[in-house]
Structures are given as structure tokens and as C-alpha cells.
Point group: C2
Chain length 229, copies 2
Amino acid sequence: MTSSSPKTPDATKQVRSPRSGRPNDPSGASNRAERAAERRAAIVEAALTEFIARGFTATRLDDVAKRAGVAKGTIYLHFKDKESMFEELVRTALVPLVNRIAAPQIPIGTVRDVIEAFAATFIREVANTRRGDIIRLIVAEGPRFPAIADFYYREVISRGLAGMRALIELAIARGEIRQKQLARYPQIVVAPAIVAVIWQSLFARHSPLDASDMLRVHLDLIFGERSET
Amino acid sequence: MTSSSPKTPDATKQVRSPRSGRPNDPSGASNRAERAAERRAAIVEAALTEFIARGFTATRLDDVAKRAGVAKGTIYLHFKDKESMFEELVRTALVPLVNRIAAPQIPIGTVRDVIEAFAATFIREVANTRRGDIIRLIVAEGPRFPAIADFYYREVISRGLAGMRALIELAIARGEIRQKQLARYPQIVVAPAIVAVIWQSLFARHSPLDASDMLRVHLDLIFGERSET
DNA sequence: AATTTATGACTGACTAGTCAGTCATTGTCA
DNA sequence: TGACAATGACTGACTAGTCAGTCATAAATT
């Protein structure tokens, strides 16, 4: 029974670290911790791409591993399982953005200016980026991942709507907005932005949508058309 | 139509033909074609429920069969495979509704009246029914089923928006709507309705939304508040 | 009896998650 | 500084389980 082991994993072993040939660079990016972080980032990037393209269930971790350039087992060094990976991804992909947007706005100019800046940020950072797809992903998978829906409601929706409501109330007090009931439904103000995101995912091929222009028209509807030349 | 409850597979081996004992009744409700249609309807009903709850990939045809009270093989007597079943389901679930809503509106009263009737229909027939979930399902699976996105754009979106645009233009001509640019983006008018559907699916548990009231406020925004003028 | 319709056990392809083994890097000591 | 030992990040073949789709058989109908 001296037969060699049936598995020959050594056959095609690629070089582990083609990292730039600096095995011990103090200022470089080649120590263990940093490369681990790089790999984790590659996995996150790849997983996000796959989840967006296929949804949770249809995404194969083999594909994620291949795309990230790691072995499947490596994924499990960073994440407990597919489900918690998905949840963590969706969370971390949105929190930085939300924190930035939800930062206390300084109403220097008119409320409309603030909301217009908000809209511009949304167009730039969400509507035409992968973050928009993440929003669609949340809509798609939310019902099956109550934890995600909970988190998202708590960290994004309730905070965002509260901030928007405060702005609307300020605008009403200042006379910028006539329709007083609007403060009860801040959703109305953001609805076209959400629709724009969905449109880009589903129908951009059929009929491109100028989201920026649409939001401008919507703000004209809310604040009245601009009379400045 | 599911006259009898389709979900009672508990009776081990249910009787295949619970008919009225008329083997050859021309006017009866138990000939082959009709029972086949009943079974098909039961399968459609069950499949829709499962697809809505779990999405396309995560839905098991074993579960659909169990819920419909048929054997799995029976599904394949009615549908070629899982994918074409899904596509056919999503299509037939919406077409009757769209045909009704898209029927030529007779603008007897004001345009606002027409749109308010439309909103009421939407609330009644979509927002709080399973059709709303189907809309979410399309958002969720659309990118992976281009055929569905195509069909939906052609049969629902483009038709619906064209009709809405015509109404907006009429309202502008009549002086009901001041904001002339609105005709370029009928999406703005329907956006809160879409958001309401999504909200019900994801966040109703956290914070119930009075969709009917929200749409009323939105129409006030577009047409101006009712009591004035 | 012949034909149509329904069944559900079965198959084969597919995939989440595991783990024994490898080896580049890091630590230790002379 | 150079040699050797220890570490643990990484690998990928493998296991155990799932599920879409099939088909031989059975039931119902004509």
C-alpha cells in the first residue's frame, strides 16, 4: 500500500505571491495583514458583482472565488457562510454613503439648494453606479432577508426620511413650499429618485432616462419653477 | 379561479375526480378540459405564491406541486420548464389588469378626476394585493429575465406612460396643471405609487404607509390643493 | 380494451461548506 | 546575518445534500 496519495495538489500550484517581488517591504503592501485585506476586498468586490447580476440564490460561490482570484475555501476565512456574507456586503456597501449624505446639512442658502445638492449627489453616487443596483438588490431580496430590511429601514430609510421631513418643514416655514401636507410624506420627494434607479436597471436599454433632468422637473413641481434668469 | 381550496394535500391520496358524478355531461363542470383547466389554475396560483415569497431560483417545484395538490410531473403537462412557467405567469398576471386600466379613458370630468380614479384603482387592485408583489418580483428578476423586462416595457410601461402623458398634456391645455415640463416625465406622477408598493413589501412592518392618503397629497402637489381657487 | 391523464420514485447535474495538506512569511537564536 | 522552526493563510478535492426534469407505472376515461 505504498501507493502515493490520490490527490496531487502540488501539480499546478501557482506562485502565491507575485506581489511585486518585495518579500519584506516595510512601506510596501506585501505583509500578511495587508494582503489579507486585499484579498478580502477582492472577494467583496467579486461577490457584489455576482450578487447584483444573479441575486442571492443563483450566485455560486465558485464563481465569486474565480472572479476574486482566490480558492473557495478562502472565502470561508473571511465570512461565516453565504448568507452572512450577503448581509454584510449589503450593509457595508451603503453605510458610508448614508453617513455622508445624512451628515448635518447646513442650510446656508435656500432649502431648495440643499435638496438640489442632495439630488446631484444621488445622481452622481447612486443612480449611475453600482449602489443603485444594490438598492434594487435590497428590493429584490429584502422580503427573504428580514435582517437586511430591518437594518436598512433603521439606518437608511428612517434617518433619511426624518432629515427630509425636517427640510420640508423648514421650507414650508420659509414659504418655499406651499403644500403643507408634503411634510407628512417625504417619500413623495424621493420617489422619482427611486424610480430612476429602478428604471436604469430594467429599462435603460429600451428608453434611456435623464434622471438628472427628471429630478429637476420634480423639484420645480415642489418648489415652483425658477424665475431667475 | 380557485373555487375549492387548492392547498389541502393532507388527505394523503386525494380523490382524483371529485366531480358531480356526471361522466358525460355536456353542460356540467367536470369534463376533462375543465378539470385540466382547474388543475392548471391551481398550479398557477401555487407557483405565483411561491415565486413571490422566494424568487425564481429559490422556488422549488416540489413545493409548488404540493401547494397545488398535484404531483410534480403534472406541472410538466402544462409548462415546458420552470423558466417558461415563470415568464408565462408573470405575463398573464398583469395583462388583464393593464388592459382594463389602459382602456380609453373618457375625460368626462376634470383630468384630476380621471387620475384620481386611476389612483383609486391602483390602490384597490395593486397596492394591497398580490399584484403589487408581482411588480416587486419584476423589479427583482427583470435583469435576469430580459424577455420579461422587454415584455413588461412594451405592454405596461410604454403604454401606461403614453396614456399618462396624454392626460398630463390635456390637463396642461386645460390649465389644470401649471408645470408644463411635467409632460416630459410622466414617471413623476406614478413614482409615489411605485414607492408605495415597494414600501408595503419591505417596510410595512416597521411603519405602515397610508398609500391612499399619500397619493392624495401627491395629486394636490400636482394639481394644487382642492379647496382653494 | 384502448387511450388519455396523472403520479412520484428516480437520476444526474450542480453546489454550499469542509478540512487535510502546502508553503510563504515571520519569529527565534547563534 | 544566516539557518532553522513555527505559524497560519491559502488551497481545492471531497462530502453531503438539493432539485429540475424524466419516465415507467397506475388511474381514469372513452
